[in-house]
Amino acid sequence: MSELKLPPLDYAALAPILIMLGAALVGVLVEAFVPRRLRNGVQLALALLAVLAALTMVILNADARLLTAGQAIAVDGPTLFLQGAILILAVMTLLLMGERAVERGGAFVAHAAITAESAEDRRQAAGAGGATEVYPLATFAIGGMLIFVAANDLLTMFIALEVFSLPLYLLCALARRRRLLSQEAALKYFMLGAYASAFFLFGVALIYGFTSGIPGRVAGVDFATVHTAVTESASSPTLLYAGMALLAIGLLFKAAAAPFHVWTPDVYQGAPTPVTGFMAACTKVAAFGALLRVFHVAFAGAAWDFTPVLGTVAVLTMLVGAVLAVTQTDIKRLLAYSSIANAGYLLVGVLAPSKDGLSGTMFYLVAYGFSVLAAFAVVTLVRDADGEATHLSRWAGLGKRSPFFAAIFTFILLAFAGIPLTSGFTSKFAIFAPALDADQVWLVIAGVLTSMVLAFPYLRVVVMMWLSEPGDATPTVTVPGALTSAALVIGVLATLVLGVAPAPLLDLANGAAEFVR
C-alpha cells in the first residue's frame, strides 16, 4: 500500500477561506457560551471582523496566481476579484442583518422552532430579540462562496456549493413576520436546491467517465484534466454533452436563470429582506464566478457546443425576467424578476470568451451587487405596524412622505434601467461591448430589447412614488439605524461612482481577468 501523502497547502492563499470558516465555528461557540443579551453585538462584531480580516488577506494576496491544496483550489485573478467582491458585499449584508433600530429585535425570528401564527409567535414578533444564529450561518455561507469561486475541480466545487447553500436554506426560514411565507420559501428553495445539487453531482460523475477516455492519463474531475479531455478524450462526446448540461443546470439554478428560476420570486419574497439581498448579491457573484470558471477553463474547448445552448438560456432568462417583472405588484417579487433578467445579461457576458468579456462580467457582478443590496436596504425601511409594506400600491406617494428615501430608490431604479451616470449603464456596456465584439449580435439585441421592457416596471415604481398622491395606506419610511444607513450609503455611492468613474474598477477587473489552469 502506498503512503498517503498530504498535498502542500499554501496557507496564505487559503487564508480568506480559513478565516471565514474558523470564524463561523467560533460563532457557534459564542452561541453556546455568551449570554443572550450580549450575543448580537458579539456575533456581529465577530462576523464583521472575520470578513474584514479575510478581505485584508485577499488584498495582500492580490498578486497570487497559483494552484494549491493538490490543485483543488485556484487562487488567481478572478478568484481574488470575486472573493473580494463577495466579502465587500457581505459587509453590507451583515450590516443589514445586524440592524436593530428599524424593528425591535431585528429582521429575524426569535426562535426558529416557534410555531407560526401561534400566540407565542405573535409575542416574539412584537419585539423579542432575534435569533443570533444567523451570523454563524451567514459566515459559513460566505466561506462556502469563497471556496466556490476558487474551486478548481468539480468535487471541491460541489462541496462548496453545499457549504454555502445549506445555511442559505436555513436563513430563508428565519423571517420575523409572515413566517409561513418564509418557511414555505425555505422549503421550496431547499427542495429545488437539492434537486439542482443532484443534477450537478450526476454531471460530475458523467464528466469523470468522459475523462477516463484520455489515452495514457488517469481520469479526474480537476479542470486541467477536463480541459484536456474535451479535446483528447476517446470517450463518446455524449458523455461530455450530458455532463456539461447537468453541471450547467446545477449552476444555472443558483444563478436564477430561466427555466431554472421558478424558485426565485417566492424565495426572494419570503426570505427576510437582508437575506434576500444577500442572495441577490453574493450568491449571484458566487454562482457566476463558478460558471465563468467551469465554462472558460474546464470546457473552453467545447465553446462551439455550449454557446448556442447557453445563448438560448440567456435570451429566455432575459425575456422571462423582463416580461414577468411587468406584471408584479410586490416590490420584492419585482426585484426578484429583475434579478432574473440580470442573470440573463450576465450570461451574455459569460458567452463573450475574451479577457474583456471576463472582466466585464466581473464588473457587472460587483456593480449589480451594490445596487441590489441598496435596493433591498430601502425595502427594509418602508414599513408599517405589520412589518415591511412590500405591496406596490403601498408605495404610492412615498415621494411626498419621505422624499429623501424615494429619491435614493429612484436613483437605484434608474441604475437598474441602465440610465447613464449610474453603474447600471456602465456595467451593461461592459457586458454588451465584448459580446458584440465576439459576434454575439443576437444576444446583444435581445439584451437591448428586454432592457426596454424592463424599464417599464421600474418606471412604474417611480411613478407610484412621485406622481401619485399619498393615501392613508402609504407607510412612512422608518428612520434607519446607523448600520442600515452605512449599508445604504455604501450601495448608493458605489452605484454612482461606478457609473461616473468606472475606470479604477475596470482596471482592477482587467488586471484580474486571467484564469490559471
Partner: protein, 510 residues
C-alpha cells in the same frame, strides 16, 4: 481667448447653478427664482462671448477640449462645436432665461417645491448644452439619455392634466429610442476601432450592411426624439401636459437633438447608408408635414395644437436634411434655430393665455382679443412666424429648404409646399377661434383675463420677437456660421450640389 475652455464651463455652469438653487430653502421661492434667472443670464453672457470668439471662416470644429474619462473604453470628455452646434447652443442659452422668467408662477400651482422646478430647468440646460457640445459618441449618448430625467420630472411633477401618462410615455418612447442607439453605439465602437472620438470615427470605413444597421439604430433614436412620423405620438401628449415653459424647451430645443443627431452622426458617419435611406426619410418627412398639419387643424387643445405644428415643421427639417443640398441643409439648420424661437414664443404665449383662462381648450376662448389686446397681438405675431410669413425668420429657412429640395427632387418639394397652406389654415383658424369674433361671456368672469401682458411677460416676448424679425430680414450672421458646417456635412455624405443651381441660389441664401 479661444483657449478658454468655453464648452466645459458652459456645460457645467448650469449644473452648479442647479445645485445652488436646489439647496436654497423651500420657504424662499423668490430667492430661488432670482438666483436661477441670474444664473441663466450668466450662462447666456458666456455663450455670447463664445459666439464672438468663434471664427466663421476658421476650422469646421472649434473650442476642442478633451479629458480622459474611462480610458479602458477609450471614452473621453471631448467637447467641440461646429457652426450647427454653436447655433443650437445659442438657442438654448437664449431660451432658458426667458423660460425661467415666463415660468415665474408656474410651479406654485402644482403645490410642489418651487426651487426644485427651477433647479430642474437648470439641470435640463446643462444636459442640453452637453448633448450639442459633445464630440465623443459615448458622451453624447450619456447626455442624450440623462436629458430625459429632468424633463420627466418637469412634466410628471409640474404638468397639467394627464401629466403622469404623458411623462411615462415620453420617458419610455425616448428610452426605447435610446436603447436602439445604445446597441448602435456599441456596434460602432466595436467596428470603428474601439474609439468613441467623432473625428476618428468619421474617418473609419464600415462594411455596407454593418453601416446600414448602425445607421438605422441611430436614426430610430433620432426619429423618435425629433419626432418624425410615425414615431411622433408621444409629443402631443408630452407637449400638452408639460408646463408651458418646459414645453417650450421640449419642442424648441430637446427635439432638435434628433435632427442635430442626424446631421452630426447619421450623415457623416454612415454616408452610404444615409444615401440609401434618403428616399424613405424624405417620404417620412413629407408625410409628417401633411399629416401633422391636418391633425393640427383639428385640435381643440392649444398646447396639443402647437405640438402638432411642430411635428409638421420637423417634417420640413427632415426633408431639408435628406435633400442633400447645401441650401436645403442650411435651411434645415436655420429652421432648427428659427423653429426654436418661433415655436418657443408660441408655446410661451399660449401658456400665458392658458394661465389666464385656466383652460387649454380653444372652445373655452372666443373674442379674447377684446380683453387682452396686446397678448392677442403677440399671439398673432407668433402664429405668423410659425406659418413662415415672409419677414419672419422661419420664412427664410422654409424657403431655403423648399428651393434646395426643388433642385434635386421636385415632387417632394411640391408636396411639401402644400404644408404651407395647411399651416396658414391651422394658425389663422386657431387665432380666429381664440381671440376674434364675439366675446365668449364666460371669459369676462375669469379674473385672469382682465390682465393684459405684465411687464415680466413683455420682457419675455420682446427678445424673441426682435430676434425673429431680425433674422427674418438679416439672417447672414447665422448663415455665415452654419454654411461651412453644412457644406462639410454634405461633402461627408458625398453629395455635391447640382451645378446650375449652386451659384445663383446660394448667393440668394447669403
Amino acid at each position: 481667448m479661444s483657449n478658454f475652455p468655453f464648452l466645459s464651463v458652459l456645460t457645467v455652469a448650469p449644473l452648479v447653478g442647479a445645485l445652488v438653487v436646489a439647496v436654497l430653502p423651500r420657504r424662499r421661492p423668490d430667492l430661488a427664482k432670482l438666483v436661477a434667472f441670474g444664473w441663466s443670464l450668466l450662462v447666456l453672457v458666456l455663450s455670447v462671448v463664445m459666439w464672438i470668439a468663434f471664427s466663421a471662416d476658421g476650422d469646421r470644429f472649434q473650442f476642442r477640449e478633451s479629458y480622459p474619462w474611462i480610458p479602458n473604453w477609450g471614452v473621453n470628455f471631448t467637447f467641440e462645436v461646429d457652426g450647427i452646434a454653436l447655433v443650437m447652443l445659442m438657442l438654448i442659452t437664449i431660451l432658458v432665461p426667458l423660460v425661467i422668467l415666463a415660468s415665474w408662477h408656474d410651479a406654485e400651482a402644482s403645490k410642489r417645491s418651487v426651487p426644485a422646478y427651477f433647479a430642474l430647468l437648470l439641470v435640463l440646460e446643462c444636459t442640453m448644452i452637453g448633448v450639442f457640445a459633445a464630440a465623443d459618441v459615448f458622451l453624447f449618448y450619456v447626455f442624450f439619455e440623462v436629458m430625459l430625467v429632468p424633463m420627466y420630472f418637469l412634466i410628471g411633477s409640474y404638468g397639467g392634466h394627464q401629466r403622469q401618462y404623458a411623462a411615462v410615455k415620453f420617458f419610455l418612447y425616448s428610452l426605447v429610442g435610446g436603447l436602439f442607439m445604445l446597441a448602435a453605439v456599441i456596434g460602432l465602437w466595436v467596428v470603428g476601432g474601439k474609439t468613441f472620438d467623432w473625428q476618428a470615427l468619421s474617418q473609419a470605413e464600415f462594411a455596407t450592411d454593418t453601416a446600414r444597421w448602425l445607421f438605422l439604430g441611430f436614426f430610430v433614436a433620432f426619429a423618435i426624439k425629433a419626432p418624425f412620423f410615425p414615431f411622433h405620438t408621444w409629443l402631443p401628449d408630452a407637449g400638452g401636459a408639460a408646463p408651458a415653459g418646459a414645453a417650450a424647451l421640449l419642442v424648441g430645443v430637446l427635439d432638435k437633438v434628433g435632427t442635430f443627431g442626424i446631421l452630426r452622426y447619421c450623415l457623416p458617419l454612415f454616408p452610404e447608408a444615409s444615401r440609401w435611406f434618403a428616399p424613405w426619410a424624405l417620404a417620412l418627412g413629407v408625410i409628417g408635414i401633411i399629416y401633422a398639419a391636418l391633425l393640427a387643424v383639428g385640435q381643440n387643445d392649444l398646447k396639443r395644437l402647437v405640438s402638432y405644428t411642430s411635428i409638421a415643421h420637423f417634417g420640413f427639417i427632415g426633408v431639408g436634411i435628406f435633400a442633400f443640398t447645401t441650401q436645403a441643409g442650411t435651411g434645415a439648420v436655420l429652421y432648427m434655430l428659427n423653429h426654436g424661437l418661433a415655436t418657443g414664443l408660441l408655446f410661451l404665449v399660449v401658456g400665458m393665455l392658458i394661465a389666464r383662462r385656466g383652460s387649454a381648450l380653444i372652445s373655452d376662448f372666443g373674442g379674447a382679443g377684446k380683453l387682452v389686446p396686446v397678448l392677442a397681438g403677440v399671439l398673432f405675431f407668433a402664429g405668423l412666424a410659425s406659418l413662415a410669413l415672409p419677414g419672419t425668420a422661419p420664412f427664410v429657412s422654409e424657403f431655403l429648404v423648399l428651393i434646395g429640395t426643388f433642385t434635386v427632387n421636385k415632387p417632394v418639394a411640391v408636396i411639401a409646399t402644400l404644408g404651407i397652406i395647411l399651416a396658414a389654415a391651422y394658425v389663422l383658424w386657431m387665432f380666429q377661434r381664440t381671440t376674434q369674433g364675439t366675446l365668449n361671456p364666460a371669459l369676462t368672469e375669469v379674473d385672469g383675463m382682465r390682465r393684459d401682458l405684465t411687464l415680466r411677460e413683455k420682457v419675455v416676448v420682446a427678445p424673441l420677437i426682435a430676434l425673429i424679425v431680425l433674422l427674418g430680414f438679416y439672417p447672414k450672421p447665422v448663415t455665415d456660421v452654419i454654411n461651412p458646417a453644412v457644406k462639410a456635412t454634405m461633402q461627408d455624405v458625398g453629395r455635391t450640389d447640382p451645378a446650375p443651381a449652386v451659384g445663383t441660389v446660394q448667393e440668394a441664401a447669403r
